[in-house]
Structures are given as structure tokens and as C-alpha cells.
Symmetry: C2
Subunit: 411 residues, 2 copies
């Protein structure tokens, strides 16, 4: 695997963190458990003998990747001790680059967020300044948490574009000039021995929400992010589905109106061009300037420009025009989601991203459109809910992906 | 698993056919191989020791599920013998029920079709007469092939509606009155000890094409059937993706025109209502009656009614109206496939079903619409091709599914 080569090159062997498939499964189940786990439960989950599990657990305890903590409930005999993943096993650096933000977190190997820092940034500034600032933030929070850079086991990163995951590079990202094929991993190579894993930001939000949010335990889930852009992340049969070039779930460029405005991708009437934050703002500013909405006009005069949240605030105080804009966006997104329900037959739809917070009427319109438009069998028990992790879904997913990668042994 | 209970109830233990996970994997790899396979190759594929593989192979040879046949190429030492699945291991009965046809095949456990019989039937006649006739055909071909009913290892069946696979029943199938929740398995219980496995017909066509057709070896594939209805089958990361209620890929009911005709499902402008065979025929008959197309008018006068093939024939002799109708259907289907390309990022799209054979202009129109409408990264190296197995894709898939099921051990 590439990172074995990479880590050897850095003179830092030790990846993957585990030595065989049973150790890998023990660690992954321990990560997935929301708390300490017993040897008996691990034995049942992995399907090898109890003695084999005990032997491999012993090695993981000696390697410091597991720690004994607490006692299992008695089953009549001697109470056995439970196993957990200690903070001292090392940390994961989880990065979520958005179109307009950098978010960096440190988590345990078990996915617990220790610290999370977010700041405004423009991805269009290009890879060098963005990655330099990302490394500065990472350095700062490592210092604050008194974590040595050598304790970083892996770096996981989400980026707002299509990623060729095996190579760790972006491929022709529409909103990220300068990032096409940029060797992101090499930016960290001088300072961290840890391998770097990269994936699309919405894929990672889906993974985060599936792992630690409202999608926990759900096998078939669709995550839809509505922000500056619109994207989808697909959990199919319990796993993140990436597609052939890592661009599965790229729903922002589904055509909703052949006569619609031209999108950044060059095609007319893409969902993203008609329903994401910039489209909401353009429409709100138009209605403000045309005097249709005094509330929006006042906000525009005050601030010089509007954003999606301002439109949400106007709707919240009962402004009809603002409400209409929000509903219009929800309706278009609902139409596309209805198609996706037919295709994917999920059992949960999660709506995240900045615009998801714009107000209840947005979610209500998505729901009513989907329920009206989809076949009854597919919408039977199909909750459509807001993201539970909100801002931290992305870093959570980045952490989960990175942990998964360093705990996987080559077959 | 349900069929262990079912087969015990029938007084016929022996399922699954294998005793442990290694045997299961040996048999599945032997099935997947298009010919005899060596012990060394199996050892490499399964990732356990050579001696373990040899021991389990010995048991499978004794059970008659494998047979020695032919010699492997020499690697310098003694040439080892290859393993195959003999006809004497038993057969799979594979059934494909279409809206207007019954197709029954016998295959080896390894998926080789021994005989295939097809006849016209109307699924709307309801489960009792259709299943009675299915059993008659099965009985006939068993007799012809001198196969004892006890040699039938499993029955696999595809049906044109949404299937709850674990229960083996249809759920609210739109075009199958009387079939809702009908206990299909029980119809075979008196005559066959073999377990019955049921799935949606298009899912099985996708599986068949993936296993033995143009999709062999392709991890992410979309199969689109265009016939009386329109449906999709999804291969994701190498596996058939069924969704939560088994109705993933139900793309016929994606809305393509809010002002369009009302579909059988009750919604307006579904793809199926506007682009499947009945829509093509309605439009052709209209143009024939209105005198727009002398070629179509002549065919209508001759035969009393048109079908999709007649429209194809008219297009083949250069009739503009017929060509327009076919292109219109291809364009609508292409639009939906373009959306699916964004969502699923497949590396192959296969078009099957009766309408797929209507003529080259149909496929050409689908292609040009998809390539024009999708993002470059997703359509880079994305072949859009006709089904290779054509009529036998469904029974091939039914056979593969059934073999997979009887060769799986409970975890």
C-alpha cells in the first residue's frame, strides 16, 4: 500500500498499526463501540476462537493500542475486564477544508474529539497558503494539548472536490483553482511521519454522521450537504460508496431545469446553480433591490450584501419573499432527493451544511416534496432529518477514515 | 437463516451445501472462475494456508461438489491437477418472470446454462396460474435433461416488482395484481426440497451481466432495462446493491416532466410512462393514425396494432417519425442516466430489455445525451453498451443468486 512505502521512506515504519487481520478487526470493533468492550463481545463479532482473541488482545495491550478499564457485568463467573482505546495510543489529526473554511481537530484513535479549531479561509487562494495555514493550526492545537507531532498516527483530510483516493489527489475540482493534482500529502511529509488520507468532504461528512451522529447503525443512508455547493455522500450496505473515480454522490450537477442559469461546470440548470447558498443570495438581493421585500432591503442596506443566514432571518420574522426563496430551494432539492430515493432506497436522509440551518421551512419543503414524489414502499419509514454533528461531521469523518486506514492490513 | 429452517421443515437438511467459511469461499471462487481452478490460486484468493485449502478441497471432492480435471501449467515442479464443479454436483433451477414472459433454465452450480425455455405469459394473470405454468416448464426440462427433482440444489427466481428478499415476497408491485405478499416459495415446497430465492428481475439481470456478460470484472456498474417498464440494477463495489426494501434502482418512476402523462404509479411524467415500450407504441400509433408516417400507418393497417419492434423496423427503413420517437425515448432515458452517473459514478452502463434491440439510434441518443450532460471526470472511460446476454441475463442472474445463497454459511 502506498503509505507503507511513504512511511518507510520517512524512516518511520510501524504502519499499519496492527500486525494481522484479527488485530485489525479487534481495533476496529473497539473503535466502533461507544465505550469499553469485552473480550467475549469481540470474540462473537470476529468469529475466531476466544483464545485467539485473547492472544491478539494481549499483543495490542503490550503495544499500547488497547488498555484494560472497568469490569464487564458478571455472567455468574469471574468478572472480566473491559478493553478501551487510550488517549496514549496516539491521536488522529482530522482536517475539513471547506469552500470558505479550514477546520482542524485532534481526536483519539477511537474517534473522540479532543479539540477542534475552525477559521474562515478561501479555498480559491490555492493549496500552498491553505495548507500552510492548516499546518499552523494543527501545530497550535498540538502545542495546546501537549501532543508531540510523533504521536500523530494519521492525518485525515476532507476537501470540497472529487478525490482520487488511492493517489490522494484532487481531480479537476470545479471550485478549487490550483488544486488539480496538487500533491497534498507531500505538504505534511517534512513535519509528520504520519500517513495522510484524503477524501471528498461530503463523503467524510456522511461517514462522520454514520459513525457518530444520527446515522449510527443505519446501513443505507444518504447525506446531502447544502452550502456554497450541494453534494451527497452515500452509505450503501454499511459502507461509504465512492464510485469509480471517487465522485459518487456528486448530485449538485444534476440538471433540474434545462433553461436554468449556467453552472460553474458549464451546463445549464444544475441543482447547485439553482438551490445552493449563492443562488439563494442572488435571488434575495434581486428582490431586495426591486423593493419586493422591505425586510430584505433593510438588511441589504445595513450590511451591503446578503448571505443565506440573512434570508433565513427574514423568513423567521415572516417575510414572504424570503420564505418563498427558501421554499423554492427546498423544493428543487426535494425533487432531486426524490429521484435519489428511487435509485438508492435509503432508510435515512440527513441534511447538513450551512443552508440546512436556514430555518424549518427549508427542511419542511424538502420533506413534503420527497414524500409526495416518491413511491410509498421507498418512503415507508424514511426519516429526513438534520445533521446531528453539524459543523463537526467533516472532521469526525476524516478521523474515522484515517483510523480505518491505519488499522487495515494488506490482504 | 430462513432457508435452514425451511429446509429442516421439509425434512431435507443439507443446506447450506458447505460446512464452513473456507469451503464457502472455495466453492464461490470455483464458481466465479470461467473454467477449472488450481489449489494455489484458491490459496492466494482466500488467504489461508495451502494445507487448510487442500484439506477443505478434499472434503468438497468427497462431497461431490468439486472434481479433479486437467492439469495446471507446470511451475517447474510436479503439475498439480485443477478443480472444477461437475454437473453431477446438482443443478440450479433459474426462473425469470417478466411482465409478458416466463423463462426457465437449468444451470450447473457453476452457472453454465444447460437448457433454457421461454414462453409468452401475462404476469397479470396472477401468481397461481403463472407459478403453475412455471413449475410445468421446470418439470418438462428436468425430464428432458433426465435430472431428478432431488438434484435441484436451489431455485432462483426474478420477478418484475419490488421484492423483500429476506421474506421472499413481493411488496406492492405496481404491474402485478394479486402478487402482493403472495408466498411464492410455498408453491414449490410440495415438489422440491430445494430452497427458493427471489429477487427483482432487473437486479438479477444486473447480476447476470456482471457475472457472465459484458460487466464481468467491473466493480461499479449500472444496468438499465428498457421494456414494458424501465428499471435499473446497481453493482456497487462489486456487489449487487438492493437498498433498504429491495427497491434500489427503481428508476422508472423518476419524474422527467411534471406536466407529463400519469404513470401507473399515480404520479405524473415518470420516465417509464414517457419512454418505455407502451409510450413508444402509443406515440407511433398516434402518428400513424394522423397520417404523419405512411410507413407506420401501413404497419398499423397490416397488423391492427404496433409494437416497439415495428417502430424500430420503420426507423430502420428511414421513417423520420419512427426515428424521432425512438430518439425521444433515448433522450429521456439519457437524461436520467446522466443524473445516475453523477450519483453512482459507475465505470460501465449496460442497456438491456426488449427496447434495447430497437435499433442503433436508440443507443446513440442515450450516449450523446449522457456524454453531453455529465461531468467530464465521471464520463471519462464510461462505456455505454448493450447487454451481452440479452434474453438470458435474467436466468443467469437468478442462477448466480441462488448458488451464492446455498454456498453461504451463517456467520
Amino acid at each position: 500500500m502506498w503509505w507503507e512505502i511513504a512511511s518507510t521512506r520517512l524512516g518511520e515504519p510501524g504502519y499499519p498499526l496492527v500486525e494481522n487481520r484479527v488485530q485489525s478487526e479487534i481495533m476496529k470493533f473497539a473503535c466502533a463501540e461507544a465505550g469499553p468492550i469485552s473480550r467475549s463481545k469481540l470474540t462473537g463479532l470476529i468469529g475466531v476462537s476466544r483464545s485467539k482473541v485473547s492472544m491478539e488482545v494481549q499483543q495490542l495491550l503490550e503495544a499500547g493500542l488497547l488498555v484494560e478499564g472497568g469490569l464487564a457485568k458478571s455472567d455468574g463467573g469471574r468478572r472480566s475486564s473491559l478493553l478501551g482505546i487510550p488517549r496514549s495510543a496516539g491521536v488522529i489529526a482530522a482536517v475539513d477544508l471547506g469552500a470558505t473554511s479550514i477546520e482542524v481537530a485532534l481526536t483519539t484513535l477511537g474517534g473522540e474529539i479532543l479539540v477542534c479549531r475552525s477559521e474562515h479561509a478561501d479555498i480559491k487562494d490555492g493549496p500552498k497558503p491553505i495548507l500552510r495555514r492548516t499546518k499552523e493550526i494543527l501545530s497550535e492545537i498540538l502545542g495546546e494539548q501537549s501532543v508531540n507531532p510523533q504521536e500523530v498516527l494519521a492525518i485525515g483530510m476532507g476537501v470540497p472536490g472529487p478525490v482520487e483516493q488511492a493517489a490522494g489527489i484532487l481531480r479537476s475540482p470545479p471550485i478549487m483553482p490550483g488544486w488539480d493534482r496538487f500533491p497534498i500529502r507531500s505538504a505534511f511529509a517534512g513535519d509528520y511521519a504520519a500517513p495522510v488520507f484524503i477524501d471528498n468532504d461530503v463523503n467524510l461528512m456522511a461517514l462522520g454522521e454514520h459513525w457518530g451522529g444520527v446515522g449510527r447503525g443505519v446501513d443505507n443512508m444518504l447525506f446531502v450537504k447544502v452550502g456554497t455547493g450541494i453534494g451527497g455522500g452515500i452509505i450503501a450496505d454499511g459502507h461509504l460508496y465512492r464510485g469509480t473515480h471517487g465522485c459518487a454522490g456528486d448530485i449538485g450537477h444534476i440538471s433540474v431545469d434545462p433553461e436554468g442559469p449556467i453552472c460553474t461546470c458549464g451546463n445549464p440548470g444544475c441543482l447547485e446553480a439553482m438551490a445552493a447558498a449563492p443562488a439563494i443570495v442572488i435571488e434575495a438581493e434581486r428582490r431586495a433591490r426591486e423593493g419586493l421585500s422591505p425586510v430584505l432591503a433593510e438588511k441589504l442596506a445595513e450590511r451591503g450584501e446578503l448571505d443565506a443566514m440573512a434570508v433565513g432571518e427574514a423568513a423567521a420574522v415572516g417575510d414572504y419573499e424570503a420564505l418563498e426563496i427558501i421554499r423554492g430551494s427546498g423544493r428543487l432539492i426535494g425533487h432531486v432527493i426524490a429521484s435519489l430515493v428511487s435509485v438508492l432506497n435509503p432508510s435515512l436522509i440527513v441534511i447538513g451544511g450551512g443552508v440546512a440551518q436556514i430555518g424549518h421551512s427549508f427542511l419542511a419543503e424538502i420533506r413534503s416534496t420527497v414524500y409526495q414524489r416518491s413511491l410509498p414502499l421507498a418512503t415507508r419509514n424514511l426519516p429526513i432529518v438534520l445533521s446531528e454533528l453539524e459543523d463537526t461531521a467533516g472532521v469526525m469523518g476524516a478521523s474515522v477514515m484515517a483510523a480505518e486506514c491505519v488499522l487495515t492490513v494488506a490482504e
